[in-house]
Structure formats: structure tokens, C-alpha cells
């Protein structure tokens, strides 16, 4: 594994560079968009939903931002990852390279984007009067889990997308649904315990919840909760890796 990585490190770096340059080609604001677009989204949500949920949720802006931050990372990373394999068909049908490199490079790009938004998030936290504690260090854990989930889901989607082009429309619908069941702008307290537990099946919600508990409540989650996150990440990545292993040699018949 390490040997393969070393062998393709140069290619990987060049792919990341390429994806980065292409993303903001011919835009006036360039990189600023990765900060602007979540901010605009936040602004609209803040204006629309404060009426309904804002009054009884402490630090509602931060609450919203947590949801948006995590959700847009997931949605960007998986949606862009989906087409990464097919977009590079011209390369892997002519050169013998590991096919997952294309997805990884897209994910690196999304991770950097997420990092930028995270900085803005912390600025907003200060403005919202959040106290920073040493527990913020634990935010690394959900970020790692989410990155692994993103890669796993990306692997699954990009493999399926080669075979079924319907995936792009299907996934758009899924993302839409996922947004509503991730408790981004509402709280789950009103639901009864069984349904609240059902929310935990959704990995995006789990990560969002982790963020909120650390940042807003300033407390910690149980070890079982940590295990749940790791398990969800492991399952997503496992399925994705298995699909790539199985269909690795069949992709090029369908591009």
C-alpha cells in the first residue's frame, strides 16, 4: 500500500493541482466562493428559520452553521466525487493508473474547502459569544470520520455512476432528502426517543451532533457515540473499497 502510494505520489499531487485550478477557472472571486457560498446559505437560513426555531435554541446561528458546515462538506464531496471516475475516463483507458486516485484528489480539494469554511466558522463562533475550550481539539475526530465517509460514499457513487448514469439525478434527490433529515435548522428534542435514535443512522446527523455538543454545549459525547461514528465510516469505506476491487477491471467497458 505504502509502496503504491509512493509510486503515484507525484501523479496524485498533479491531479490535486489540476482539480484546484480547474474549479475556479474564469471566476472573478475564485477561492472566495468556497467561503461565500456557505455564508449566503447561512444568511438565508438564519433569516427564514429564526422565527420558528431561533427563540428556544441557544446560539442558533452557531447551531445552523454547524449543520451547514458539515452538510455542505458531505454534499460537495460526494456529488463531485461521483463524476470523478467518469470525467477521467480519457486517462485510465489509456494509462495504467489506480482509478481511486481521481476520487481522492477531488476529496482533497473538498477537504481544503472545508478547512477554509471551518476558519470562518470559528470567527462566527467568537461573534456568537461561544467560549473556546480544550475540547475543541476533539473536533478532529468527526472531521476524520466524515472524510472517510465521504471517500467511501464517493467510491460507491463513482462506481455506480459508471454503470448507471441515472445516479446523478438519483443522488441529487437523496441529498435533498438527507438535508431535511439531518436536523440542520430544527432540533430533534420534540420527537420521541425511538425516532431520535433513528436519526443516529444518518452519519451526517451524527457528525453534526458531535460538532454541536462540543462547540455549543462545551461537553463530551460517550465512547459508544465515538464507536458508532467509526462504525459508520468503516461500513461506508468498506463497501466502497469492495466495489472498486470487484469492478476495477470492468469500468473501462462502460465509459
Amino acid at each position: 500500500m505504502l509502496r503504491i502510494f509512493k509510486e503515484h505520489q507525484f501523479l496524485f499531487e498533479e491531479l490535486v493541482k489540476r482539480d484546484f485550478k480547474k474549479k475556479y477557472k474564469r471566476t472573478i472571486l475564485g477561492m472566495a466562493w468556497s467561503i461565500l457560498s456557505p455564508l449566503l446559505m447561512l444568511l438565508v437560513m438564519r433569516l427564514v428559520f429564526t422565527q420558528f426555531f431561533g427563540s428556544n435554541t441557544p446560539h442558533y446561528t452557531t447551531y445552523l452553521f454547524c449543520g451547514n458546515l458539515v452538510f455542505s462538506f458531505f454534499s460537495d464531496s460526494t456529488s463531485q466525487g461521483m463524476s470523478s471516475l467518469l470525467d477521467n475516463a480519457g486517462i485510465f483507458t489509456k494509462v495504467n493508473v489506480p482509478k481511486y486516485l481521481f476520487l481522492f484528489s477531488k476529496n482533497v480539494q473538498c477537504l481544503i474547502n472545508f478547512g477554509l469554511t471551518l476558519c470562518v466558522f470559528f470567527v462566527f463562533c467568537i461573534l456568537d459569544g461561544i467560549t473556546f475550550t480544550w475540547r475543541f481539539i476533539f473536533l478532529f475526530y468527526p472531521i476524520c470520520c466524515l472524510t472517510v465517509i465521504n471517500i467511501g460514499v464517493g467510491l460507491i457513487l463513482s462506481a455506480l455512476f459508471v454503470f448507471f448514469r441515472d445516479m446523478q439525478y438519483l443522488w441529487r434527490v437523496c441529498i435533498q432528502i438527507l438535508m431535511y433529515v439531518s436536523a440542520i435548522f430544527y432540533t430533534v428534542d420534540k420527537y420521541d426517543a425511538t425516532i431520535q435514535r433513528l436519526f443516529l443512522v444518518n452519519p451526517v446527523y451524527v457528525i453534526i451532533k458531535y460538532f454541536r455538543v462540543i462547540v455549543i454545549d462545551g461537553s463530551m459525547l460517550s465512547p459508544a457515540f465515538h464507536l458508532l461514528m467509526a462504525a459508520e465510516a468503516f461500513i461506508a469505506f468498506g463497501i466502497g473499497a469492495w466495489m472498486y476491487k470487484k469492478y476495477n477491471h470492468q469500468f473501462l467497458y462502460y465509459v
Partner: protein, 249 residues
């Protein structure tokens, strides 16, 4: 041990299965009972061996399965049946233009393409000047790739590719690129690589080229292996006869 060995290699394409026709169509046909897939053997039972430093010419008309075979040899495809054994580093120059991105500059593209061919960053840093020099593209380095003329594009592609030092070199009609002057230069360069001891496979429609350069020849026709032999001239004569219509298979 031979450096390259292909044993009963067969490659099958399937058309018309559910991934091809879509899920809806698949269910419809399944209900109607007229769902069937078509098999197409691009190569069937191809067998050959090559020793170090030998040069194989693959000949055959369009659609004979030459390019598919090369993909299998380079490891991009896996044979449906049979096996291929290779030793050492393989460099496949199948389509020189593949992997370039129109929006990136010439310099960025050169590095990207170099990375795809398995070069290291250090190697690219060291030879970049040389590549641009050979491709005669000084002054174009910061232009977007799509603004180059098609001749310039292939010159750049060739200049990057010709730096490979593989054990097995696979060439799919890439010996002739660019205008007259550059073509001469590129042929000399290609011969340099071949003469450096690499085992080479060459797909060519130019019989004189095959006669002159190759030590072995493989004739494919619609996926079938007609002959594999080291009697290059004899086979080329036969093939010429087939092309002229004097010989039928």
C-alpha cells in the same frame, strides 16, 4: 524466462446488457422475454512470447483487435481468458494526446502527463527545459493547452513520452508525428529508445517500417491470430498479398 509472454489471451466485449440499455429497458425486455446480450471477442486465443530486446510488429486491418491486445499487454485491461506475464516496467504510448487538459497551461500539462507516465517530480524538473526545447514550444509555456495547434499538441505529447526508459515499450502508431522536420527528429528519438534494449511492440500500418525494424511479427484478423512468426518478410509478403486481394483467409 521470457520478458513478455501472452498465453491464449482472449478478450470479450459484451454489448446490450442492463448497464448498456438502462434499467427500465432491461426490465421491459426481461418481461417480454427478448433480453439477450451480444458477445464480441475482440481477441481470441492470441499467443506469443518475446525475449529481451526483441521487437514485435502487429499487423492487421482495422478492427483486428490490435489496440485491444495492446491494452491487455499494458495492464489496462485484464484478459477474459488466458494470461499475460510481464517482467519489468511497461510504458504504453497508446494515444499520445490522452490525459491533457485544455484549460491548463503547457507547463502544467507537461508535468501532469509526465506524472501519468510514471516519471518523478525531480526527473520532470530536470528535463522540463529539454522537453520544451525538443517540442520547439519556447514562448508558449504559459498558454492554455487548447490554444495550441494540433501539430504543436502532438509535438509536446511526443516530447514528453519519448523520455521513457522502460523494459517493455508499447507503441500504437506513434512513430510519425508533426511536420516533416519534426517527424524525422521523432523517428530518430524513437529508434534511440528501441535500440537502448527495450523490448518493443509496434502496431503499424506501414509494412516497410515493420519489415525494416521488427524481428517478429503477429498478424491478427478480426480477433483471430493468423500467424506469429519470426519470418517477418515472409509474413509481410503474405499480408501484402491479402491486402491486394491475391490471398483469402
Amino acid at each position: 524466462m521470457s520478458i513478455l509472454e501472452a498465453n491464449n489471451v482472449s478478450i470479450r466485449y459484451i454489448t446490450g446488457d442492463f448497464k448498456d440499455i438502462g434499467l427500465k429497458e432491461f426490465v421491459m425486455r426481461k418481461i417480454k422475454g427478448d433480453y439477450h446480450v451480444t458477445e464480441f471477442w475482440a481477441d481470441k486465443n492470441v499467443t506469443f512470447t518475446l525475449e529481451r530486446g526483441e521487437m514485435l510488429g502487429i499487423i492487421g486491418s482495422n478492427g483486428a483487435g490490435k489496440s485491444t491486445l495492446l491494452k491487455a499487454v499494458s495492464g489496462i485491461m485484464v484478459p477474459t481468458e488466458g494470461w499475460i506475464h510481464r517482467e519489468g516496467k511497461v510504458a504504453a504510448l497508446l494515444e499520445l494526446g490522452s490525459g491533457f487538459d485544455g484549460d491548463l497551461t503547457v507547463k502544467e500539462n507537461a508535468f501532469l502527463r509526465g506524472a501519468m507516465l510514471g516519471y518523478t517530480r525531480k526527473f520532470m524538473d530536470d528535463t522540463y527545459e529539454q522537453i520544451i526545447d525538443f517540442a520547439e514550444l519556447e514562448g508558449f509555456e504559459d498558454r492554455p493547452f487548447k490554444q495550441l495547434s494540433s501539430g504543436m499538441k502532438s509535438r509536446l505529447a511526443f516530447s514528453i513520452a519519448c523520455l521513457v526508459r522502460p523494459d517493455i515499450l508499447i507503441l500504437d502508431e506513434v512513430l510519425s508525428v508533426g511536420d516533416g522536420a519534426f517527424r524525422k527528429k521523432s523517428e530518430t528519438k524513437m529508434r534511440e529508445i528501441i535500440n537502448s534494449g527495450a523490448t518493443t511492440i509496434l502496431v503499424s500500418h506501414s509494412l516497410p517500417q515493420v519489415r525494416e525494424m521488427c524481428t517478429k511479427v503477429l498478424w491478427l484478423h478480426r480477433g483471430q491470430q493468423i500467424v506469429f512468426s519470426d519470418d517477418v518478410d515472409g509474413v509481410c509478403d503474405q499480408y501484402q498479398g491479402f491486402l491486394d486481394g491475391r490471398l483469402t483467409l
